[in-house]
């Protein structure tokens, strides 16, 4: 289509002339990629540990030094009674108590079995629970036959990390990044695509240039396509940059097929850009568009399953996530990148996102009025 060619040429000229947008597109991903995984890191170091060693045997000392040597714990007290250790928890100096019972060594040797006691400070829940998990795995490694009992029911089952991390239990620090980075890439692409599209059209309204377009016989869907295609291409580039960065910085190489990923992204972006377009048809100023986009982006991201697992959300929130495109994107990113899922596996998500793309873009075209 000839008209479309002119629209695209004009749009690209404007984009490449706009330093702010270029910065947004190429610098923001790099910065976010370096900063966000650090901030959103669930890695726990320096778990404060109090040890109550009632056995004071070679074995018990070996165990303690092994725990400390793991690097995740800081020994806060080597106490003689549980009561003393508990005071450390109460004063928030310790997150965990490891109690080694009397006769630990003897029973271990004689009966091949021994129980350890771990108490978790639930105030700093994440830290203590993770610490508990580390501890149990270290002890598990120390002696497979040692059984451990946790005082507080650990919430591991609710942790979003479990099915991915389990295979690599002894390097959880690395796994959190592996888990978080694809999600951050998903959000990045969503934000850049959505905001750029919404703000671009509203800016034309604000400056008044859209009036000069509306007074031409241009077809509505051609105009919308002329806005959609450039930002679709830009978002694809950002996504590609992100994938490369994920590989270079975090060593994340998608296990699954890149083609699956790109096909999904291509459709997903139509949804996101369609949403941006729709918002722009409702707004007259960039400020309005900004607020509305922020509102929805916050919802999409908070309910996207990146920071809070969808499984642990209340029922009503779970329902909302079903109409949240970001949720599907994050899911598919993790499935393809971390699990190696193929076309068949992501078909349901693809279906939902395609439907959303059709609805949002159709709505945007209907709602874009050349005559008002």
């Amino acid at each position: 289509m000839r008209t479309l060619r002119f629209l695209l040429r004009k749009e690209f000229r404007q984009i490449f002339r706009d330093k702010a947008i270029l910065t947004l597109i190429f610098v923001m991903p790099v910065i976010q990629f370096i900063v966000m995984p650090l901030a959103a890191d669930y890695e726990v170091r320096n778990v404060n540990l109090a040890v109550v060693d009632n056995d004071k045997s070679t074995y018990s000392q070996k165990l303690v030094s092994k725990v400390i040597a793991s690097g995740y714990f800081k020994l806060q007290g080597y106490n003689s009674s549980f009561k003393e250790a508990f005071q450390l928890i109460e004063s928030d100096k310790a997150d965990l108590i490891l109690e080694i019972p009397q006769g630990f060594e003897r029973n271990l040797i004689r009966e091949d079995k021994q129980k350890l006691f771990v108490a978790v400070n639930a105030i700093n829940g994440t830290k203590a629970n993770l610490g508990g998990a580390y501890l149990s795995s270290i002890i598990g490694n120390f002696n497979a036959d040692i059984r451990m009992q946790l005082v507080q029911q650990p919430r591991f089952s609710q942790f979003p990390v479990i099915d991915v991390v389990a295979s690599n239990w002894f390097n959880p620090a690395l796994n959190y990044k592996v888990f978080i980075v694809p999600g951050i890439l998903a959000i990045l692409v969503t934000m850049i695509g959505g905001f750029l599209t919404a703000l671009n059209i509203v800016k034309e309204k604000e400056v008044g240039t859209i009036e000069q377009i509306n007074v031409t016989p241009i077809k509505k869907h051609i105009f919308i396509l002329g806005k959609l295609i450039p930002f679709w291409i830009l978002a694809m580039i950002v996504f590609t940059i992100g994938l490369i960065l994920a590989r270079v910085i975090y060593g994340i190489i998608p296990i699954g097929n890149l083609l699956v990923l790109y096909v999904f992204i291509a459709i997903y972006l139509l949804t996101v850009l369609g949403f941006g377009l729709l918002v722009s048809t409702f707004c007259d100023t960039q400020q309005q568009a900004m607020f509305i986009m922020f509102f929805f982006m916050m919802l999409f991201i908070l309910l996207g399953g990146l920071f809070t697992s969808i499984d642990s959300m209340p029922y009503w929130a779970k329902l909302i996530t079903r109409i949240n495109p970001v949720r599907y994107m994050i899911e598919v990113m993790r499935m393809v990148i971390l699990k190696g899922s193929g076309f068949q596996d992501v078909l349901p998500q693809m279906g939902v996102v395609s439907l959303m793309a059709v609805i949002l873009n159709g709505w945007a075209i209907l709602n874009y009025k050349k005559t008002n």
């Binding site: 000839r2 008209t3 629209l7 002339r17 008044g208 240039t209 007074v215 031409t216 016989p217 050349k370």
Partner: protein, 247 residues
């Protein structure tokens, strides 16, 4: 009989309870330069946007180049050019790029675009400015450029909303040369202005007061009717009665 390119009957636009344009009726002949006068807030822009298919009328009827303003807006748009009150070419594109873009949108061929560009460059004396960003041009040039873009596709009618607002007298003269040239090519010119010397250049003028057209005639007849020496006086006598205090 003269061919009527704008026929307007009781055209009205309301914004809520406010009637911006109140039952205006008039006709404009082909090739005519029609001056559409009125004080600030009288409703000129509102009326013009309805005639261009940018705004849907509340009631009344109008045809532009034979097409209905309610149902055939896209056909109207193929036959008109419009220069809005607010400058609305792309400031971050060069002169050349703007011309190319709007030429392309109106369906001109590459060859036509090339010819138009050269013609425009020499006519406006913009040869050395063609590769400059439009935003960096002085206002007078911007306005002349806007006009040239509005008639790029040789429309039947061109609507000009205060095209010379804020422009210096010399440039205003040059601007009116462009208007006359267009009229010579049988393009009908529908123009609003606040300058009464410009009103004198029009074949016929209407004067709007508070959303209504109060008078419509040739400048000479109006002066006679109001026993005035100048259009200034005519305008003053009419506009004095306006209730609307806008801007």
């Amino acid at each position: 009989m003269e061919e009527k390119v704008i026929v307007c009957d009781k055209l009205t636009k309301r914004f809520g309870y406010f009637i911006a344009t109140n039952e205006i009726s008039f006709e404009v002949n082909k090739g005519e330069i029609f001056g559409f006068l009125g004080a600030n807030g009288a409703g000129k822009t509102t009326a013009m946007r309805m005639l261009c298919g940018l705004s849907a009328p509340t009631s009344g009827s109008a045809t532009i180049a034979g097409y209905d303003v309610y149902s055939e807006t896209e056909k109207i748009k193929r036959n008109i050019g419009y220069m809005s009150q607010k400058f609305s070419l792309y400031e971050n594109l060069t002169v050349l790029e703007n011309v190319e873009f709007f030429g392309g949108i109106y369906g001109l061929t590459d060859q036509e675009i090339k010819e138009k560009t050269e013609e425009l460059a020499s006519k406006l004396g913009l040869k050395s400015e063609m590769k400059k960003l439009v935003g960096s041009l002085p206002l007078g040039w911007k306005q002349k450029l806007s006009f040239s873009v509005a008639v790029l596709h040789e429309p039947k009618i061109v609507f000009l909303d205060e095209p010379t607002g804020g422009v210096d007298p010399v440039t205003r003269r040059q601007f009116w040369d462009l208007i006359y040239e267009a009229a010579d090519r049988r393009i009908t010119v529908f123009v609003t202005t606040h300058y009464m010397d410009e009103a004198e250049y029009c074949n016929r003028i209407s004067i709007m007061v508070d959303g209504r057209i109060e008078v419509l005639d040739t400048p000479a007849n109006l002066k006679k009717q109001f026993q005035a020496n100048s259009m200034d006086e005519v305008f003053y006598q009419l506009a004095r009665s306006a209730k609307r205090a806008d801007s």
